[in-house]
Structures are given as structure tokens and as C-alpha cells.
């Protein structure tokens, strides 16, 4: 034994003594970390937490430092959106009085994006559309005067809320058309089963002033559009199951439909498709559209993309094609792009990873593994 103890003691003299002599760590002071200032590379990751769905949340992630910044709780089957100035997050959700059961309360909660504290809420009638999150489930008017919330019971209607006074102003029947597509300070459009848009114009009190129905702009039997639109410079762009691009101008009193064009060549049509939970993102300064694409047939419209295709919205030309396989990324279910001059492309995979790309070159900058459980929708300021 002595032969072992002596070298050990010698080693300790050499290594332990300096440690023993060092000054002790100072006492720490418990605090709350401040949230870094809002910036264009912050991404809000909506995690439905599908395996325990009463516990959804929104993760804030920084695309520059690759750090999680914090969390907004989101209850059951939530809707999520940002205010036009991105200073406020809104969560439309449902709580049960006994956690997973009991009295249902539907509510819209407002969170201050400078400190992630809930500032106030508006209790809704128990009619909130419980579905996959889309930006058209809950949204602000362009001037932030109103918040609109989609109702499905399954009868379809929407609520008009006053976020300043925390009140429900009105419920407006939409004759079977669904979702709330905001335009201007007081217009709401909904997508109809007939392939039309119903547009309701509100008065100053948030009540219906008039309504109109568009002509059909797609055929839901032949080639349905994804219900989730992508914000563009003058409205929203909708993609169809077979790759048609419907650019809709919402800047006037009535939506105006551009001539549809295709993401795919005739040879690719029906073979290469878009799919997922958030099927496109537009960088509005560049007028570029990013779409996750996969090879698949009918019924594959929720499959993730194995490539990201990039299109110029002015020329309708594909300008890049970024395969994800060599990056060892699982299929991409959701994409979002930042709106600054050095844009980042965010992509959530069906393995719950979040990839961060240079949106100009397609270079993969970072993969954040397991950012939540089911990250299905991404929002940037």
C-alpha cells in the first residue's frame, strides 16, 4: 500500500495545494435573466407538444447565438401570432379547469416580448378553432386596433377583439368559410369550400359593415391550396398540393388574384411536391420564396421536404435547390425566413431539430437538436 500512497500524496501536493489556496467563489445573487433586445434573427418556435397536448409552448431561439432565449406557455392546441410591431405575442388557447379535464376556458393571452410576461388576456366563447397552428387562426389587424380569432364549432365564424380594452367586440358568421386573413385596418377574409374568399369589412366598432364573395381562385377538388398563406409584399401567397402558386393581392378593398404559376416543371408535376406544417416562407425584400419539397404522391401533402427550393417571385424562376440529405437533416416540416438584410432561413424537421441556414447561399450554419417536441410553425419579427 505504501508504494501507492506515496506517489498519490506527491501528486496531491503538486495539484491540490493550488486549489486549496485559491480564493473561494463569491456568494451568488439569484436574479432573472433579462431578455436580449428584440432582433430580426429571433425566431418563435411553436411547439404543439403533441404527445402531451395540454402543454404546448413557444420557444424563443436566437439565430445568431444559437441560444434559447425563453418560453411562452401555450396551453392546448394553440394559435400563435405576433403584433405588427412584434412587441407583443398573442396565444389563443384552451385550458381545462382540472388540467386535462373539466370546465373549458378559451382565451387569448398577450405577452410582452421584452420580458416574456403575460400582460393581459381576453376570455373567449368556447368556440376557438382547435387545429394545427396557422397564422390565420389568430391575428392582428394591420393597425393593431383589432385582433381576430377563428371559431369552429364546427359552424364557422370569427371573433373580433379589442386588445386595448380586453373585450370581445363581435362574432361574425362566415357562412362556412374558415380562418381569419387580415388586410388593412378592418378587413377579414376567410377561405371557402368552394375555392372562394369571403371578405368582411368591419366598422369602427368591429361589427360587420359589409361582405363580399370572390370568384373561385382554386379548385379544391382538383388541386387544393394549403390553408396557410405566406405573407408577401402586397398580401399573401398560397401554394397548392400540386405546386401551383396563387399570389393574392390584399392591398385593396377586395382581394385580387394573380395568374397562377407553377413551382414544378411538367415533368416534375405530381412527383415533386411541397408538404409539411408550414410550407413556405417569403423574404419580402428579396421577393424570394423558400419551399420544402419532397418526392411523393397523393396524400403526401404533410410529408416534410428533402430539399428546399428557392424561387424569385418576380420572374417565377427557381434560383436555387438545396438538398438536405448531405446535411444529415430529417425532412423539413416548417420554414421561416428573417426579413433583414442578412437573412436567415429557419427550418424545423420532423425529428424536432431546428436548422439555421444563410438564406442567401443555403449554407447550413447550425442545427439545434430537439428544440421542443413537435415544432410545427415558426415566426420571425
Amino acid at each position: 500500500m505504501n508504494t501507492l500512497i506515496l506517489p498519490a500524496a506527491a501528486l496531491c501536493l503538486a495539484t491540490c495545494t493550488p486549489l486549496l489556496a485559491a480564493a473561494p467563489l463569491p456568494a451568488e445573487r439569484l436574479s432573472v435573466a433579462p431578455l436580449p433586445p428584440n432582433n430580426p434573427h429571433r425566431v418563435y418556435v411553436v411547439d404543439d407538444a403533441f404527445e402531451n397536448e395540454i402543454d404546448a409552448r413557444v420557444h424563443l431561439f436566437d439565430g445568431d447565438t444559437y441560444q434559447r432565449l425563453g418560453q411562452i406557455d401555450a396551453g392546448f392546441n394553440p394559435a400563435f401570432n405576433l403584433s405588427p410591431d412584434a412587441k407583443t405575442s398573442i396565444v389563443g388557447t384552451t385550458y381545462f379547469s382540472r388540467g386535462s379535464r373539466g370546465v373549458r376556458t378559451d382565451v387569448v393571452e398577450f405577452t410582452d416580448n421584452s420580458n416574456l410576461k403575460v400582460t393581459h388576456e381576453i376570455v373567449l366563447p368556447s368556440k376557438r378553432a382547435m387545429t394545427l397552428p396557422t397564422i390565420f387562426s389568430l391575428t392582428y389587424s394591420a393597425d393593431a386596433r383589432f385582433v381576430y380569432v377563428s371559431y369552429i364549432t364546427p359552424a364557422a365564424s370569427f371573433g373580433v377583439l379589442d386588445p386595448a380594452k380586453s373585450t370581445v367586440l363581435a362574432e361574425i358568421d362566415t357562412a362556412g368559410c374558415v380562418l381569419v386573413i387580415p388586410s388593412g385596418p378592418n378587413r377579414v377574409s376567410s377561405i371557402c369550400e368552394s375555392g372562394r374568399l369571403l371578405t368582411v369589412t368591419l366598422d369602427a366598432e368591429g361589427h360587420e359593415a359589409s361582405r363580399s364573395m370572390s370568384e373561385p381562385f382554386f379548385n379544391p377538388d382538383v388541386d387544393p391550396i394549403f390553408a396557410q398563406g405566406i405573407p408577401s409584399n402586397d398580401g399573401y401567397t398560397f401554394l397548392s398540393f400540386l405546386g401551383e402558386v396563387h399570389q393574392v393581392n390584399f392591398s385593396g378593398a377586395q382581394p385580387v388574384f394573380g395568374t397562377p404559376w407553377s413551382l414544378v416543371s411538367p415533368a416534375e408535376k405530381g412527383h415533386w411536391r411541397t408538404g409539411g406544417t408550414q410550407v413556405g416562407a417569403i423574404q419580402r425584400k428579396l421577393d424570394r420564396l423558400y419551399v420544402p419539397m419532397h418526392v411523393g404522391g397523393e396524400g403526401s401533402h404533410k410529408d416534410g421536404g428533402t430539399e428546399i427550393w428557392v424561387f424569385d417571385l418576380k420572374t417565377h424562376q427557381r434560383v436555387a435547390r438545396w438538398p438536405l440529405e448531405h446535411e444529415k437533416l430529417a425532412p423539413v416540416l416548417a420554414v421561416q425566413v428573417s426579413q433583414d438584410d442578412a437573412p436567415l432561413l429557419f427550418a424545423a424537421t420532423n425529428h424536432s431539430d431546428l436548422a439555421v441556414f444563410d438564406a442567401m447561399t443555403g449554407r447550413l450554419r447550425h442545427v439545434e437538436n430537439k428544440l421542443g417536441q413537435t415544432p410545427w410553425v415558426l415566426l420571425t419579427p
Binding site: 403533441f50 404527445e51 402531451n52 397536448e53 395540454i54 392546448f76 392546441n77 384552451t94 381545462f96 388540467g99 386535462s100 379535464r101 373539466g102 373549458r104 368556440k127 378553432a129 382547435m130 387545429t131 394545427l132 369552429i152 364549432t153 364546427p154 359552424a155 364557422a156 365564424s157 358568421d173 357562412a175 362556412g176 368559410c177 374558415v178 380562418l179 377561405i191 371557402c192 369550400e193 368552394s194 372562394r196 369571403l198 361582405r211 363580399s212 364573395m213 379544391p220 387544393p224 391550396i225 394549403f226 390553408a227 397523393e298 396524400g299 403526401s300 401533402h301 404533410k302
Partner: protein, 176 residues
């Protein structure tokens, strides 16, 4: 029922939306028809599909295994398979409640080469099961066509609208 009363009251207001209202009523009619059919149609436990449930499990024939996402009746199901959560392909787990409203699909049974109309009901009142997640979307349509949509929480009209798992119930043979 209150929401349906309100629907009919409100939908009688504006002639301008005749087309859309008609389609809504048609959709609602389909939903109600689907819901009404369920208690009327006996569960055909002698059918090949039902008889196959315990027998085929584990034999490698996924299209005949109700605990497999490839089971033929699940061609457009989205959620957790109740057959992995204490129920079966057409029964809810103990302590949950079936959704009275649902959406309808058509699936092909390779065992008898027939197409069947099935209703996809959700089982409600407990938190999501979390086992055997399955998302298939044959002929599935977005939520503006709710009678063909599997994104909606079909527990929405239940007293306890929490979503637990999904079943696929044969309503009958599809007419060709």
C-alpha cells in the same frame, strides 16, 4: 346543439352567400349523417378486418395490424391510434368519450378488395395518449373542407374537448 341552432339562425341572414352556406349545410349534413350512422350500423365483428385484429398482430402484415399505422382502415388518420392506448380500431379507451362529430374517408381493404367508407372519430376527455402516432392523408383536404380534414380536433364539441386518440370506424362499403 346550441351552436347548430345559432348556425341555422345566422345562415338564414344573407342571400349573397347562398353558395357557401349551401356547402356549409351540406358539410354539416355530412357530419351529422356520419355521426348518425355510427349507432345505426352494427359493428361488423365477423368481418375479415375485425376478425383480423388480434390474430394478425405481429405476423408482419402491417395492413392487417390495427396497431400499425399501415393498417388499411387508417388511410387518412391523424393522431394516436386508440388500439395502442387501451381501445381498439373502433373503440375508445376506458374512461374516454367518443366524439359525436367526425370526418369521413374512404379506404381500400386489400383483404377483400373493397373500398369502405370510414369515420374517423376522436376519443376525448384525457390528455393525448402519446403512443403509436400515425399521420396518413389519402384524400385528406384542408380545413376549409372540414368533412375531409384531419387537422381539426374533433373533440371540439365534446363536454371534455381534450384529445386523447383516434379510431377508424367502418360505416359501409363505398358505392363504386
Amino acid at each position: 346543439m346550441r351552436s347548430i341552432d345559432e348556425l341555422f339562425e345566422k345562415s338564414s341572414r344573407s342571400l349573397a352567400q347562398r353558395t357557401s352556406r349551401r356547402s356549409l349545410l351540406a358539410t354539416l349534413g355530412k357530419l351529422l349523417t356520419g355521426a348518425a350512422l355510427i349507432p345505426l350500423l352494427p359493428m361488423d365483428r365477423s368481418s375479415r378486418a375485425e376478425a383480423a385484429e388480434p390474430a394478425e398482430k405481429g405476423k408482419g402484415n402491417a395492413a392487417a395490424d390495427p396497431q400499425s399505422c399501415e393498417y388499411w382502415k387508417y388511410c387518412a388518420i391523424d393522431g394516436f391510434l386508440c388500439s395502442c392506448c387501451g381501445g381498439t380500431s373502433n373503440s375508445c379507451p376506458p374512461g374516454t368519450s367518443p366524439s359525436p362529430i367526425t370526418w369521413i374517408g374512404t379506404c381500400h381493404n386489400p383483404a377483400d378488395d373493397r373500398d369502405y367508407i370510414v369515420s374517423y372519430n376522436d376519443c376525448c376527455g384525457k390528455v393525448s395518449c402519446g403512443n403509436c402516432e400515425c399521420n396518413r392523408n389519402e384524400r385528406e383536404k384542408p380545413m376549409y373542407r372540414p368533412s375531409r380534414n384531419n387537422d381539426l380536433n374533433w373533440c371540439m364539441a365534446n363536454a371534455d374537448s381534450n384529445y386523447h386518440c383516434s379510431v377508424s370506424v367502418i360505416l359501409g362499403v363505398a358505392e363504386k
